[in-house]
Structures are given as structure tokens and as C-alpha cells.
């Protein structure tokens, strides 16, 4: 089993590993701004600080043969699914060590072994693709499922509507997860969308739907499990709305000054990492001392990852000419 599949298995089995992965994501995202400032990263990037429970909770419920389509805000989901921090940060830094050899970048992480489709930078772009993956499972009669993760803002794009309707009428094994982090870029969701509970839109397709607390990993696991079981057993698609909050700005440059006063602070009280810690301490699985150690170990680990990626070579010019078409003709006849 590859090291990355091991990483995946870890979060599937163990609550401590899940917590550690959340810390890994937090630590990882925390490094990004500094790397921008130092010129090690260019372009743009979209952090998922505050949304770690959704990423890890989701990954803990899926099998590696399930398929996930996610978005440019995908570092956390990639790490949660098992991609190594080197392959994620390497990609963000445009290095050969990156999961895409450096030609993709922050918005386009992928790893087919772990079931992560290339993440899409087009709002709604990944949704019908996930439905298509589910279609292939249905035709081949496997019991794998496809998951599409997308933002609150994405519920206003045509692809959302078309995909949910198609998935419903074809009864596809797909789970739609709307990561409602309250903002789409600099727009609060209520300024672009007349509806507050976005999952209600599933009624338009007679599709089961519910909201869950996306800050609480146990809630995420419970809700996603319910939908995944339905999908695996021919019960068709589900729309889940995970109520989360984006602790950072939309992308690199954004300071999120448009937030109403006190909003961030209110959500920070429900920081998914804090909630997980409380739960693990309450259950006796962890103690405060160990938490401090884990965080400090993870800090060191990620710092090493940064160093490794910084030392990793730049891609050579030939690499931009590769992987456009499939080599030779691997068709059947």
C-alpha cells in the first residue's frame, strides 16, 4: 500500500488520526501566507481555515475507490483524502514534487489513487463531472459513490441545477455537499441568494436533503454516512448543506474587511479544532498535554515539508508539453 493510501486509511479508522489531520490542515494553511510573502508561491490560493472538520469528516467516511470532486478551495480535502503535504504544497509551489508536477497549481490538486479528481477552478464545473463518475458506477454496478463538494455561491450557477436534476432523475449514487461558509468571494450569501437554507433547493428535484453542523466532525461523519449509505444502496443522491465559516479571506489578497463586526469571533467560538479537542478530552482519548505536543510536532512536520518543497526542483520545459493527449493510441482496436 502506498504511503498516501496509508494516510487515507489512518483517517478512516482513528479519531486521533482525524484530529491530527485537522491540525495538519490548520498548520499547512497557516504557512501559505508566509510563503506568498517570501515569493515562494505565486498566483492565488484559497484557504480552508475553519473548514477542517468537513474535509476530514468526509474523508473518514469514504473509501479510496469513491470519487471526490472539489474546488480551488481544496487543500484541506486533498490532505484529508491522503495526499501527502509534500505533494500538495509542492504543487502549490509549482515544483516537480507536486501532485501534478507543478503544471496545475493550488486550484488543481488531484490524485486518482485516492479518488480525488482534478479540482476545478470553475464554479460548478466539478458537479456534473461527479455525477458522471456516479453514472459510471451505476452502469458498472459497483457500490462506489461520487461526492461533489462546492460552495454556497455555487448554488446559483446553472450547473448546480442541471446536475441535481440529472442525478435525481437517473437516481445516481452521488452525494452533493454544499460547504456553506457564508461567503462567495466578498459577497455574503444573503446578498446573492434569497434563500437561507440552501439545502432546501433539493426539493426542486425531489431529492433528500438536510443541513448539518460543519464545524463538528461527528456531525459531518453522521450526515455524510447517511447519504453515502443511501447512494451505495441504490437510494440515489442527497444534498447536504454543511454550515461552516471561512476564517480567512476569500483568497490571498483578501482581508475580509466586509465581515459584520463580531461575526468571525462568533464562529471562532465554534472552531472545529476546538470542538474536536473538547470532545476528545471529554472522552478521555486525549489530554491537554498531548494536544500541545501534537500541535508542536505538526508544526515541525510542516516546516520540514516546506523545506523539502523549497528544495524540490523546478519542472523542466519538457513537462509543459506532456500529458495533453494520451500517448500512442491506447484505444481497443
Amino acid at each position: 500500500m502506498s504511503a498516501e493510501l496509508e494516510r487515507r486509511r489512518a483517517v478512516q479508522e482513528d479519531a486521533i488520526a482525524q484530529y491530527e489531520r485537522m491540525i495538519e490542515i490548520r498548520e499547512f494553511e497557516g504557512q501559505i501566507n508566509g510563503l506568498f510573502a517570501s515569493g515562494s508561491i505565486r498566483g492565488t490560493t484559497h484557504l480552508c481555515l475553519g473548514q477542517e472538520a468537513l474535509a476530514v469528516g468526509l474523508a473518514s467516511v469514504l473509501r479510496p475507490t469513491d470519487i471526490v470532486s472539489a474546488t480551488y478551495r481544496g487543500h484541506g480535502i486533498a490532505l484529508a483524502l491522503g495526499l501527502s503535504p509534500e505533494s500538495v504544497l509542492g504543487e502549490i509551489m509549482g515544483k516537480t514534487i507536486g501532485c501534478c508536477g507543478g503544471v496545475g497549481g493550488s486550484m488543481h490538486l488531484s490524485n486518482m489513487e485516492l479518488g480525488l479528481l482534478p479540482t476545478s477552478a470553475i464554479i460548478g464545473g466539478g458537479m456534473p463531472i461527479a455525477a458522471g463518475a456516479a453514472l459510471s458506477f451505476q452502469v458498472r454496478k459497483t457500490d462506489d459513490v461520487a461526492v461533489a463538494v462546492f460552495g454556497d455561491g455555487a448554488t446559483n450557477i446553472g450547473a448546480f441545477h442541471e446536475t441535481l436534476n440529472l442525478a435525481a432523475i437517473w437516481n445516481l449514487p452521488v452525494v452533493f455537499i454544499c460547504d456553506n461558509n457564508v461567503y462567495g468571494e466578498y459577497s455574503r450569501i444573503n446578498t446573492t441568494t434569497p434563500l437561507e437554507d440552501l439545502h432546501m433547493r433539493a426539493d426542486s428535484y425531489k431529492m433528500p436533503h438536510f443541513a448539518l453542523d460543519g464545524m463538528d466532525i461527528a456531525q459531518v461523519q453522521k450526515g455524510v454516512t447517511e447519504a453515502v449509505i443511501r447512494a451505495r444502496s441504490n437510494g440515489g443522491p442527497t444534498l447536504i448543506e454543511a454550515k461552516t465559516y471561512r476564517f480567512a479571506g476569500h483568497s490571498r489578497a483578501d482581508q475580509a474587511l466586509y465581515r459584520p463586526e463580531g461575526e468571525l469571533e462568533k464562529w471562532e467560538k465554534r472552531d472545529p479544532i476546538k470542538l474536536t479537542e473538547e470532545a476528545l478530552i471529554a472522552s478521555g482519548a486525549l489530554n491537554p498535554q498531548r494536544i500541545i505536543e501534537i500541535k508542536s510536532e505538526m508544526k515541525t512536520t510542516i516546516e520540514k515539508v516546506v523545506a523539502t518543497c523549497q528544495d524540490s526542483p523546478e519542472p523542466n520545459l519538457a513537462s509543459m508539453f506532456q500529458n495533453i493527449f494520451t500517448p500512442a493510441n491506447v484505444g481497443r482496436s
Binding site: 470519487i67 501532485c99 460548478g124 464545473g125 463531472i129 458522471g132 463518475a133 452502469v139 495533453i324
Partner: protein, 338 residues
């Protein structure tokens, strides 16, 4: 000797789909009214009956949704074929081809392929009006990662459709709608690889490159002109067959592209520009394009008949260009209409 069967263009497509579906259980077809109704242009006759509702499916009117579904199914190892009833409808779904499918292999570091086929009917001539008659090759032509083919007769409809389905990458098949009812002889063992042009007529004086419904018109023009013209059916628009075209132009020293696309922005510019850049010193006369005018496709039968180049137009321009070495006027310039 090759065994050929007479059939209509649309039947050749049905046959190609059926043959591929028999050979490969991952091939499937979906689109609006392709299953129960057997296709708005009857290009899926009998398929639902033979292959059943798991593989032959009607879709809602959701081009973005089902085009994207094809991308996803292809990534996971199916070979979906989708039908876009009129090429214009990709205007609501182009994203999935140009910005998703074409980039997927690149963005997976070569770990996945997207063996999907998009069949879209194109072109003018049937009185469908300006929103249902464009060819629109340009929407997909400048996209590394996509292949684009366009059959011109029943044989190439059959063979290119099979090649497209067998291809490991996304292929768009532009089907000239006006040809669906045309008859031709089809040799089902003939392979037409993607990226290979067809030399339909050998000649030494002029190279004519054409595509789709214009191929036959160009052929008629050449026959009436009584000139020694080499006629090439480009067949694949992307990646086009530089070798065949440039070899021919090297020989003849003259290049004329006959196309249904508009004068501004049509695919033929690519051929003329590339041939000129590479073979400038070997050209004996101005290479040029014979195109449709820069107007929306008009509805009236009288106007639409004049919209595409006619065999007479083409013959006139062939003869004149051979005589003068310069680019003859288009019919609308001659008539002072623009």
C-alpha cells in the same frame, strides 16, 4: 475486394455506434431524445432496443449537466458518446469541453484520460435559421487537449465515429446536418484515423482543402472546371493533417480552402496561414479561402442557398486564380453587396 454496403449518412452513424457498443461494453450514448425517440435526426435507431436503458439514455434539457456527466463517466473508464442536437447548444456547455475535459489529463499529471465523444450536428442549408445553422468550429479549435473531426460522407461518418470512440481523448464529431439523409457506400472495415486527411482526387495544378458539406460542392466545382485539382477532405480539423496538406501544396504550388465557416475567423485561415508560413517560396499563386459571408445564416431559402459557396462560385474562383495568380473576388464583392 472491400465489401461495401449502401446506407445513408445517419445510418452510418448508427452502425458505427452499434458496432462500437457491441465491441466494448463501456461505450454508452446519451442526449436529448436519443433513446425512446431514437434521435431527433434518427441517429440512434435501434440502439435502445439492442443495448437497453442503462447504456442508451434520454437526458433532460441540460447540456451542461450531461456534457459534464460524460466527462466524469469517461474519467472513470466509460466511453460515453453524447449527442448535442445542434452545435449551438454547446454555447451553454462549452466550459465542460474547453476548460474541463481538455485539461483533465494535464491536471492529473497524466493519470487519467477522458475518452468521450461529443457528436454535434452543424451547418446550414435546411432552413433552421441563424440559431440552428452555424458550424462554430472556432469554439473548440484553439484548445490543446481536444480533437475535432467532421465527416463528409457516409464512409467517413462511419469510420471517423468509430475512430472517435476508440480514441483515448475527448473528440468532437461535427456532423453536417444536411448530409444525414445522403446515401453512400460504406466499407465497415475501412479505418480512417483521426488526424489524417483524405485525398479524394489527385491533381497537380491546385490543392483544394475542404470539410464537411463543402467537400461535395468542391468536388462538383472541380469536375466542371476541368482543371487538374487535388481535392483534400481535411476530415480532422484539430489536429489537422499538415503532412498531407503541405505535401500536396508543395506539389501544386496553389492552395484554396473551401469552407462553410464565415470569412472572418473561419478554420481555413489556419490552413492558409500555416501553408504560407511553411511553403512561401514554393507557392505559385496567392493561397486563399472561399467562405460564407460575415452574416448570420439567413432563413429564406433563396438567401440560404446563396449563403454557402456554390459549385459555380468555386469553379469561377478556381479558374480565375489559376489564370491570374491572385485572389478572386467573392460573389458578394462581385455583386457589390459588401
Amino acid at each position: 475486394m472491400a465489401i461495401t454496403t449502401p446506407m445513408r449518412f445517419r445510418q452510418a452513424i448508427v452502425q458505427a455506434l452499434a458496432d462500437e457498443m457491441r465491441a466494448d461494453s463501456t461505450v454508452m450514448l446519451f442526449g436529448e431524445d436519443v433513446a425512446q425517440a431514437e434521435g431527433p435526426f434518427k441517429t440512434s435507431e435501434g440502439l435502445l432496443t439492442e443495448f437497453g436503458p442503462l447504456r442508451i439514455r434520454d437526458t433532460p434539457i441540460s447540456e451542461m449537466g450531461f456534457t459534464g456527466a460524460a466527462v466524469g463517466a469517461a474519467i472513470m473508464g466509460m466511453r460515453p458518446v453524447i449527442e448535442i442536437m445542434f452545435m449551438e447548444f454547446l454555447g451553454v456547455a462549452l466550459d465542460q469541453l474547453v476548460t474541463e475535459a481538455a485539461k483533465m489529463r494535464y491536471l492529473s499529471n497524466g493519470k487519467l484520460s477522458v475518452p468521450m465523444v461529443v457528436r454535434a450536428s452543424v451547418g446550414s442549408g435546411l432552413g433552421f435559421g441563424c440559431q440552428h445553422s452555424q458550424t462554430l468550429e472556432n469554439w473548440v479549435a484553439a484548445t490543446p487537449g481536444l480533437k475535432v473531426v467532421c465527416p463528409s460522407d457516409a464512409q467517413s461518418a462511419y469510420s471517423l465515429t468509430r475512430s472517435a470512440i476508440q480514441d483515448p481523448d475527448p473528440v468532437i464529431v461535427l456532423e453536417p446536418r444536411i448530409l444525414y439523409a445522403e446515401r453512400g457506400d460504406v466499407d465497415t472495415s475501412l479505418v480512417l484515423p483521426i488526424g489524417k486527411a483524405r485525398v479524394l482526387r489527385k491533381g497537380n495544378e491546385i490543392t483544394v482543402v475542404s470539410l464537411g458539406q463543402m467537400v461535395n460542392v468542391a468536388r462538383r466545382a472541380i469536375e466542371t472546371s476541368a482543371l487538374d485539382v487535388e481535392l483534400i477532405d481535411l476530415a480532422t480539423v484539430v489536429p489537422w493533417d499538415r503532412e498531407t496538406v503541405l505535401t500536396s501544396v508543395k506539389k501544386t504550388g496553389r492552395l484554396i480552402v473551401v469552407e462553410e465557416a464565415p470569412q472572418s475567423g473561419g478554420w481555413g485561415s489556419e490552413i492558409v496561414a500555416a501553408a504560407t508560413s511553411e511553403l512561401f517560396c514554393q507557392l505559385k499563386g496567392a493561397p486563399f479561402r472561399i467562405t460564407t459571408p460575415d452574416v448570420p445564416v439567413p432563413y429564406s431559402g433563396v438567401l440560404e442557398a446563396r449563403f454557402v459557396p456554390t459549385a459555380d462560385d468555386i469553379a469561377r474562383q478556381l479558374i480565375e486564380s489559376l489564370k491570374t495568380g491572385t485572389t478572386p473576388k467573392s460573389w458578394w464583392e462581385l455583386e457589390g453587396l459588401k
